[in-house]
Amino acid sequence: MKVFHIALREFGSFFATPTGWLVLAGYLFLTGVFWTYMVESYVLQSQDLVYNPAAASMLNLSDYLLAPFYGNCATVLIFVLPAVSMRSFSEEFRQRTMELLATSPVSTYEIVAGKFLGAMGFVSVMLAVSLYQPISLLQWGEPEVGVLLGSYLGMVLLSSLVLSLGLLISSFTSSQLVALVLTFAACLVLMVLDWGAASPDAWNARLALSSHLGDLFSGAVKLSDVAYFLLGSATCLFATQQRLESFRWS
């Protein structure tokens, strides 16, 4: 129950600061621009292929619109999510409000869970607003629903991992800026880890973000990919809890 109150306060604080609104507006604006251009170019392509039935049969919404579009969305998320998690603990340290949580009858597990759920709630609002994109497609086209569901699941899982990582990093600094930069850097490392990997089975390819997102965005939900994100998030959240606990012994 107290987790819920912490989460609710956290959620509310995003709408009380310009950062929250900027993130929301930034994400929706960028993906909106991508959406407009990509739908338009897809329409133009299909018009060009009206007299070429063989090529037209190759063109489908999933491979030529949705997969690249959600790939772009994932990249935008990696840019904006560190700005969501940056204030979680850094701001508590700077304003010295951590003392309130630390002396209230709540455990460090509840504090971390509340912070995480609050941030996830905010990102969920952001993703929910972006649903106008698949809904409009369902209205005027026939996209594969599995691909849409897989893409949204992928974005939720990605958000969970990046936010957990961001929470952990923000628990080490009282500067939002430092938290932002380090979280973004950590995400970039995770993104490019598989560049130059010897094979898809090499350790760095297995740890990389991108190799686990591809299948989800094509609608194939595999346990190993889901486990990657969930385990990654859980590890970061547990480390954050340990970090908070360590303050008592500083």
């Binding site: 107290k2 109150h5 912490i6 509310g12 409000t97 002396t103 009858p105 455990s107 008592r248």
Partner: protein
Amino acid sequence: MIQVEKLTKRYGATLAIDALNFEVQRGEVVGFLGPNGAGKSTTMRILTGALGATSGRALIGGVDVYERPREVKQLVGYLPEAPPLYVDMTVRSYLRFCARLKGAREPKVAVEQVIERVGLSSVAHRLIEHLSKGYRQRVGIAQALVHEPKVLILDEPASGLDPAQRKEIRDLVRELADGDTTVVLSTHVLPEVEAICDRVIIIRDGRIVASDQLASLGSDATAIRLTVARPDDTLLPALRAVEHVDEVSREAEGRYRVRASADVREQVAAAAVPFGLLELSGQQGLEEVYLQLTGGET
């Protein structure tokens, strides 16, 4: 209500508090006094469960702070040195959050009561960001009170307040103590202690140097300043020979300062007359005790 046994806290190589022992009875108001860095805040933070002790133990209402922190935190209301305020919230929504976080029985009712009690009605709807320091301090106090704690720990509750506001806080603390709340507070302001505390604990370098009822602490210690016309080498030993005199120092030619643990003005005067006593003044009270025990100057 509060029992502290051999409580010790080290930060790396520095010893912040060194084997503190003290007890606070139910409904008592105890003031922590001491210079900056003496270990007051550290002790308070350990009592609230925000900080772990290196060794020793602390019990609040018979519950060990380390073993069952959650129960203790439920019993304690705490105002840190810097009030922990979310400045982007309004006073009312902040206090509601605190009430829920601390498990007040009826959060909304409790918040309205505490707003009334600490005089925040006129600013309840405003963002904390826009409040003056005095109001912020009151919001901090409201936050500590909102779940009706049995024990109240206040780290410099009167800082940043003007004299009228200080009096309000004093009255509030007294009222709470009459209602059976145990209060531990720290302060630099000596008249403050004299006005509200039943007992003072004076801390210096992490050790308790005095712990007594205010009445018995304040009355005995005396500082005497005297001026004599014909000082010579026998004056100092003569003054030191007076019973209860702890220290005699020469401030200038013919001017001396005597510190004693009892009121010995008469005896000192008698000892000084052969040297041509011109002037003698005595100063008594808590301030004198405090200065003697902490070895500090004001």
